[in-house]
């Protein structure tokens, strides 16, 4: 009745099996691919359009901006997709009761979360990086035609391309961690988008040095420094320091999420 008789029963748990399982989960949901497509189309598309619009100005030097300042602009919109995919990896399981099947199959909650984090990081890094490169080629075509094109060898450009992948992966992990804390899709997505798009701006209104630092340290301000070839300004942390702060924030939230996840009944 079963082909299983011939297959040895594993004698130890394996992260590899859980990762494979989580990858099948992520890849077998259509919304994953639609959302990833949205990330690519919005990110690369807006970068191309913005570059097309400003290529004249850059060429004529009227605004004083360089082509590099526009070449990752569209990625602002890609952030939404990364947040949605990251949140869903966790919250969709609570919404459907699937979390019980997941934990029955893999009782180690740490391993389940580690596998989810690995799959999410790999996927968003790949899609984010592809989006950045497509935006670069699309946008740079306009700058080239105006004679102000840039090259991948220029300062910070390659870092920005791969940095986009890293930042998208980080945003996904941040959303997953929040998802683990609130266990609700809409709540998780709203919280992270508010954190990145709204609260990050609002805190800059706090007067004095306090406001400066709070602004610098907010996830949505510290994280994307590695994405832009030209810094937002002196008031921001340097790219890698900012990203390290961003990772630290993700780590803290993830550990809080893991602690709750291990304690709670499924």
């Amino acid at each position: 009745m079963s082909t299983l008789v011939a297959t040895a029963i594993p004698t130890s748990g394996s992260l590899g099996r859980t990762v494979k399982s989580e990858w099948i989960k992520l890849a077998s949901i259509r919304s994953t691919w639609w959302t990833a497509l949205a990330m690519v189309v919005l990110g690369a598309g807006f970068t191309t359009i913005i570059s097309g619009v400003y290529a004249d100005d850059v060429a004529s030097g009227t605004t004083g901006d360089s082509a590099a300042e526009f070449i990752t602009q569209g990625l602002i919109f890609s952030q939404i997709s990364a947040v949605v995919i990251g949140a869903l990896v966790v919250t969709s399981e609570y919404g459907t009761g699937l979390i019980r099947a997941t934990l029955a199959a893999t009782p180690s909650r740490t391993r389940v979360l580690a596998a989810k984090a690995i799959v999410l990081t790999g996927f968003l890094f790949a899609v984010g990086t592809v989006t950045a490169f497509l935006g670069y080629f699309g946008g740079n075509a306009f700058f080239r035609s105006q004679g102000v094109g840039i090259s991948l060898g220029d300062e910070n450009i390659l870092r920005s391309m791969f940095g986009a992948g890293l930042y998208m992966a980080g945003l996904g992990l941040l959303a997953a961690a929040i998802g683990l804390l609130v266990r609700h899709t809409a709540a998780a997505i709203s919280i992270v988008l508010a954190l990145v798009f709204i609260i990050g701006q609002v805190v800059s209104l706090i007067p004095g040095t306090l406001g400066e630092w709070v602004t610098k340290l907010m996830s949505g301000n510290a994280g994307p420094g590695i994405v832009v070839p030209v810094s937002f300004g002196d008031e921001m942390l340097t790219p890698w320091v900012g990203f390290a702060v961003f990772l630290g924030e993700i780590a803290l939230l993830s550990l809080a999420g893991l602690a709750l996840f291990k304690k709670r009944d499924a």
Binding site: M1, S2, T3, L4, V5, T7, I9, P10, T11, S12, G13, S14, R17, T18, K20, S21, E22, I24, K25, S28, I29, R30, S31, S92, E93, T96, G97, L98, R100, A101, L103, A104, A105, T106, P107, S108, D265, A266
Partner: protein
């Protein structure tokens, strides 16, 4: 084999499962019967390590479920229908389960065929009827060909053909020597499916016996006798070797039919006020047994 010892679960001070002990043996279908809210699902979740017991412990095949390196190869469980992502196909749902426990993908096709879902395997599970979802859940429970199979309310939402199928599947699994643990709130269903019965109510075990024994004990017919000289009547009937039990002002007589009992009493010059044949069904027995342990009663009496 499943063994629970002093298994207890409280939620916010409310006791859901109260220090229960039981053993589920292989080679037979063990019914886990109780009204809704009795603690059946909580117990099953604790067996799978999804909920942590407040006190006590439960082991599967001699160890804790969570300590198994490939638990789906040891225990297969249907916990609730539609514990699947509605956007994922039946085949992909089974694929991720298989991958997580090192089960070859060929097994996915086998269980899909076994539960009769092979023709709709590529469809998204969200489009499934309750019955199809239940079949997918059973396929998931069987994917690791486990020696222990646990089904929580497996016939919910199934059509009569599906109900029969679940019954024969449970029988077949038990005949193959597997441990089969099936929960239900329907006594009639258990009467048809189970060899052994564990009855739970308000988190406590009310009965744990072979189904035949349970039926003999709780579902027998008797003759109710009410008589003014009940002491004399009782002495007479017992003197004839009949099994008589006294409850309040009535006698319950086993072993002789009503006309014969009436003639016997009359011919001895004793008065008779009531003579009734009482048949108690298994369903009645269950209701009686759990009457005090049902969480939410439908109130029928009206304030006067």
């Amino acid at each position: 084999m499943i063994r629970a010892q002093g298994l207890t679960k409280t939620y916010d001070g409310k006791v859901a499962v109260n220090g229960i002990d039981f053993t589920v043996e292989p080679g037979r279908v063990t019914g886990f019967l109780g009204p809704n809210g009795a603690g059946k699902s909580t117990t099953m979740r604790m067996i799978l390590g999804l909920d942590a017991p407040t006190k006590g412990m439960v082991s599967v095949n001699g160890h804790r479920y969570a300590s198994s390196p490939a638990p789906l190869r040891e225990v297969g469980a249907l916990l609730e229908a539609h514990a699947v992502h509605p956007g994922r196909s039946a085949r992909n749902h089974l694929r991720w389960l298989a991958a997580s426990n090192g089960i070859p993908t060929t097994r996915v096709g086998e269980v899909l065929e076994l539960v009769g879902l092979d023709s709709v395997a590529a469809q998204r599970a969200g489009r499934f009827s309750l019955g199809m979802g239940q079949r997918l859940g059973i396929a998931a429970a069987l994917i690791g060909d486990p020696p222990v199979v646990m089904l929580d309310e497996p016939v919910n939402g199934l059509d009569p053909e599906g109900v029969r199928w679940v019954r024969s599947l449970a029988r077949q699994l038990a005949d193959d020597g597997k441990t089969v643990f099936v929960s239900s709130h329907l006594m009639s269903e258990m009467a048809l499916m189970a060899d052994h019965l564990i009855v739970i109510g308000r988190g406590a075990i009310l009965a744990d016996s072979p189904i035949q024994e349970f039926m003999a004990e709780h579902a027998s017919a008797y003759v109710r006798v009410k008589a003014p000289q009940s002491i004399d009547v009782e002495a007479l009937l017992v003197g004839r070797g009949l099994d008589v039990t006294r409850t309040d002002d009535e006698l319950r007589v086993h072993g002789l039919d009503a006309p014969a009992i009436g003639e016997l009493i009359g011919s001895n010059g004793l008065l008779l006020h009531e003579l009734t044949l009482v048949r108690s069904s298994l369903e009645d027995a269950f209701m009686e047994l759990t009457a005090d342990s049902v969480e939410y009663h439908a109130r029928t009496e009206v304030a006067a």
